[in-house]
Structures are given as C-alpha cells and as structure tokens.
C-alpha cells in the first residue's frame, strides 16, 4: 500500500492550490454530514430537561445513561422477551443477506462471465424492474405469498429478498470490471467446471463486491419491521418493538434518542468491519496483478 502511494505521489505534481480547495470541500462537506450525527449521539445522553432547553445546546452538558437505563427497563417489561425480537431480526438479516449474495452472484456469474444466450435480455429486464415502484406490486405479492402459505412466517420477508434487482446488478457490474478474462480461460484449460470457476476464481476476486453488498443488505434488512406479512407478536422484529416503545410522546423523548442511537450503531459497526476488509483486499489484489 505504502509503496503504491509513494508511486502516485512521484507520478504527478498535484498543485498546492488544488489540494487546498479539495481540503476545504471535504471539510465543509464533512461538517455538514457530521454535525447532525453528533447531535444524535449527544441527544441520547441528555437528561430530559436538557432536551428541552432554551437556548438549545448541540452538545450534552451533564451526560447520563438514564435514557439507556429506561430503555432496558421497558424492554424487560415487554410481554415477548426482547431477545426474541432481536433473534427474529438477526434471522432475517442473516438468511436474507446470505441468499441474496449467493443466488445473486451465481446469476451474475452467468450473465457477466458466461454471457449465454438470453442473459443480456434478462439483465435488461432486471435493470428496468429497478424503476418500477414497489408500492403497487405489494398487492400481487401479498396474493402470491398467501398462496404459498408464507403469511405470518419469516420466509415471507426473507425469500423474496433473494432476487433483489439491485444485488444482481451490483454483482454483475463488479464482475464486469474486476474479473481478468485470462484467469477464467486458464482455469478452463485446467478443466475446472463452472462451479469451481465461480467459487474459486470469480468470488475471491470480487470480494469487495459482496462485502459492499453485505453492508447494503444488512442496513436495509436491519430496518425491516415485518410489514403486512407478520401478525404474531413473537415473530415481530427489533425495529418494530423499539418503535412501539418510543410511541409515548414527550415523556419518551429520551428513550427515543437512545433507540435512534442503538439502531444506528449496529449497521455502522457492520460497515466498519466490512469496509476495513474491502481496503485490505484492494491492496493485495492491486499487488497480485
């Protein structure tokens, strides 16, 4: 990595003026992005009287963990144990992501690497489908899912996710760009079958693609409330349970701030773990080429 950077530095004389403008741009943009986020973190630690203060303060004065404590107490009083909500959310996130990455990349392999007849047309339809509002496809989908007998089961949320248009399109794009054709041909010479090429050549080389996909899917599925498909309380998800807790007007403002922070921190941790791996792979694959 270090040697690569030093090569870049020697390569071109970047003008100091340009660097300065860029620094300013990133600083102002960064501040605009980060100030509301700081407020969210700060609000979670504010005692109730500080949430309603004039003039308002961005940063908490007397930080307290009371909001989190209140949240714990309310969670403990829940009729369905809170671990159950968490488990449901984790099941959805895990299986939803796994299936989408696996089936999506398998299909992307055929479309991007093999290009068998019909795949261009199929890809065209997938891209078009991205632009059709899911609002009106809800009713036909409900009918299908009811017919399959998946109502009030987590399958209703997990399995349709496995064919997300965005996931396939993303994988296909990364494969188009990142797979060295000669690598695939060499494997064919060695007599590797399609699954071997997919699993041992293509997938390791598009690691950034599926790490990015995991980030995006986790973020989306983590928010799932269960929608129209889940009725049983013991099958509801964590965001649903937390949104119920926070519906209590002014008195629950503190708890609400705590909930916002909790819901935010977990996808951010997943993001950080994956992002660090993306940077790792990029560094090594750049060298290996």
């Amino acid at each position: 990595m270090a040697s690569r950077l030093s090569i870049r530095k020697r390569r071109l004389a970047r003008s100091t003026g340009g660097d300065l403008v860029i620094m300013m741009f990133l600083l102002i943009g960064g501040a605009f992005m980060v100030i509301p986020m700081i407020m969210i973190i700060s609000n979670a630690f504010k005692p109730l009287n500080e949430l309603f203060l004039f003039p308002p303060r961005l940063i908490v004065r007397n930080p307290t963990t009371k909001n989190f404590h209140d949240l714990m107490v309310m969670m403990a009083q829940s009729w369905v144990p809170f671990g159950r909500y968490l488990l449901n959310s984790l099941i959805i996130v895990f299986f939803g992501t796994l299936g989408n990455v696996f089936f999506g990349s398998l299909a992307a392999y055929v479309i991007s690497i093999r290009k068998v007849p019909g795949t261009r047309f199929f890809m065209g339809i997938v891209i078009l489908s991205l632009m059709f509002s899911s609002e009106v496809t809800r009713i036909p989908n409900y009918v299908t899912i009811a017919w399959l007998g998946w109502i009030d089961s987590l399958r209703a949320i997990i399995i349709p996710r496995w064919s997300s248009s965005m996931g396939l399109y993303l994988m296909k794009n990364f494969m188009d760009h990142m797979i060295d054709r000669s690598l695939v041909e060499a494997a064919e010479m060695d007599g590797a079958n399609d699954f071997r090429i997919y699993w041992q050549i293509v997938m390791p080389n598009v690691k950034p693609a599926w790490l990015t996909m995991i980030i995006l899917l986790f973020q989306e599925l983590w928010r799932t409330q269960g929608g129209h498909y889940i009725y049983s309380e013991q099958l509801k998800t964590l965001p649903y349970a937390l949104s119920q807790i926070t519906q209590g007007g002014v008195a629950r403002q503190g708890v609400q701030a705590a909930v916002t922070l909790v819901m935010m921190v977990i996808p951010i941790i997943v993001f950080l773990v994956n992002q660090s791996k993306i940077v790792d792979t990029m560094g090594t694959s750049g060298m290996a080429n």
Partner: protein
C-alpha cells in the same frame, strides 16, 4: 477482453441458415449456466416480473380490492392528466426534486469518492464513514425535525431567537416557502449511499499501473487523469450509480411524509410516490395507483436513456 467473448457468443446468432439449431446447441452446451441462473430467475419472475405485469394490467381497471377489477381502458390515465390537479402538482414537485437532488447528489457522491480515494488508508476509511453514516442510519434523518422544529426548542429557532434575528419561532416545516428547500437539504444529507459506496470500491479497484502508464503518455494534471484514465475505467459503476440515483431521486416519499407531514401544507412537497401511496394505501383505488406507477416508470426510463447517452460520451 469482454468483446472477444461477446463475439464468440454472437457467432451462433448471426449465421443465418442454422440459426435456431446453433442457438439451441449453444444453450444446451451451457445447461449448467442456466441451472445457476434458475434460482434467482424463478424468484425474480415470481416476485418481480409477475407483480409488475399485473400492476400494468390493473392500471387499465377500476379495482378497489373488494370487488373484482373492472376494465375501464385508459380512463385512469385520462383522469390523471385532465382531472387530478394534485397529481400535476406532484409531477412538478417530483421533477424539481429529481433535477436538483439527482445530479447534485450524483456528482457529490462521485467527486467525494474520488477525492477520498486520493487520501491515505486511515483518512480514507474515516471520511468514508463520515459521509456514508447519514444514509446507513435508518431514521437518523429525524434529527432534522428537531433542528427545524417549529417551537423554541428547535435548534435553528433557538439560535435565531437567542441572537435576536427573529422574535417568534418560525414554522420551518409547515411553511410552504421553506418546505421544499428543507426537504432537498435533508435528502442531499442522506444521499451519499449505495452509489457512493460503489464508487469508492470501484475507484479502489483501478489498476495503479494504468496511472503510471498515463503519466508516461503525457497526462499532466489530475483533471486530465480523471477524464482520460479514471472515468473510462469507471463506466459500468457510473451507470450503476446513475440508475440508483434516478430511482431514489424520483421516488422520494417516506422522508417527506415523516419530515413535513402527509399531506404537506398546500401539497408544497407532494411527490408522485406520495400520491401513489395516497391512492394505494389510503383510498384503496389500486387501478389508479397502478396508473401512477406506470407513468412514473416511463419518466424514469426516459431519464435513464438520456443519462446513458450522456455517460457514453465520458472520456472521449
């Protein structure tokens, strides 16, 4: 590289006489590939293609979800354009959103990703998180409700009153004059999402030797490097980012309802998708809602075609 393979696969299609049989032969030779495609394709057809086709058919019917749909031809479409004033407001607002937030967020995502990419790994990871965090965090944008809250506890009102610029709190989120710009601000705040992340990963994947070769070939500054070397390498990602941006900027709805209420004052922020939700989820007029979805679909497809034309010119 890819053109070689494409040529190979087209050979079977282009030779006239045995065209069919050659095609079948090629398909049979790749049986295993179709098997790979099958799980995704079956789910995609069941959960996406069939519902979309049904929705398009429903757009020519009156369907209240209790009685069976009644065929009414183009009536829904005629009603939309001739009788529904609020729909026309929604179209206008959606176009304003799309033409402002679309290009701005797209360019910001790319430029930011490009600038961040030049930094050292630690700084890069930190700034990526900083810019990406608002869109990752679900309901985090609700903080803007507190910032622009209409009472004295609102951050903006509080400071403006404290410093004496205003005497009474301003109803930021209820005043039609402010609603639109504020929604645009918030949408831009959370627009560094999927596209941004893909740009970062894409830029990281460019072979550094390309730049070394470019420097020898006489690329003089970072702008030339961007135009002649980086952008052509990013073409697929750029199109991906464009489609994601088009779909998100044409379908802003939930954020608006949560920020400024549904419906917003004088429909000042009313968008096509909100209109669709109104008829689909509140009035249960699914035929009408489907017609709205079809029109929105065509608006996005046309935009996508135009953007594709523009992106093909990149790096030439």
């Amino acid at each position: 590289m890819s053109s070689v393979v494409r040529k190979q696969s087209q050979v079977g299609v282009e030779t006239r006489p045995g065209r069919r049989s050659a095609l079948f032969k090629e398909m049979a030779a790749h049986k295993i590939c179709y098997l790979f495609l099958a799980p995704y394709a079956i789910l995609f057809i069941v959960f996406t293609v069939v519902p979309v086709v049904m929705a398009i058919l429903l757009s020519f019917t009156y369907f209240n979800m209790l009685q069976p749909p009644q065929w009414i031809g183009l009536h829904n479409y005629i009603r939309l354009f001739l009788e529904d004033d609020i729909f026309l407001i929604a179209v206008k607002n959606t176009l304003v959103y799309a033409t402002i937030t679309g290009p701005v967020s797209y360019l910001l995502s790319f430029v930011t990703a490009w600038l961040i990419n030049e930094l050292k790994p630690k700084a890069r990871a930190f700034l990526t998180l900083l810019f990406y965090a608002p869109s990752i965090s679900g309901n985090a944008y609700m903080i803007w409700r507190i910032i622009f809250s209409g009472d004295t506890y609102g951050i903006i009102n509080g400071f403006l009153m404290y410093w004496g610029f205003i005497d009474a709190p301003v109803q930021w989120l209820l005043n039609p004059d402010y609603i639109m710009p504020l929604v645009i601000l918030v949408v831009l705040w959370m627009s560094m999402g999927t596209g941004f992340l893909v740009f970062i990963a894409g830029l990281q994947g460019i072979d550094p030797r390309l730049y070394e070769a470019g420097a020898i070939d006489g690329v003089r500054n970072r702008w030339q490097e961007l135009w002649y070397l980086t952008l052509p390498q990013m073409r697929g990602y750029l199109m991906f980012g464009a489609i994601i941006t088009i779909t998100s900027s044409f379908t802003v709805a939930g954020e608006i309802s949560n920020l400024v209420g549904f419906p917003s004052t004088d429909y000042a922020a009313h968008t096509i998708v909100q209109h669709l939700q109104d008829y689909g989820s509140i009035r249960f007029d699914m035929g009408y809602a489907s017609a709205i979805a079809v029109i929105l679909f065509f608006m996005m497809v046309v935009t996508q075609r135009v953007v594709q034309k523009l992106l093909n010119k990149v790096g030439e």
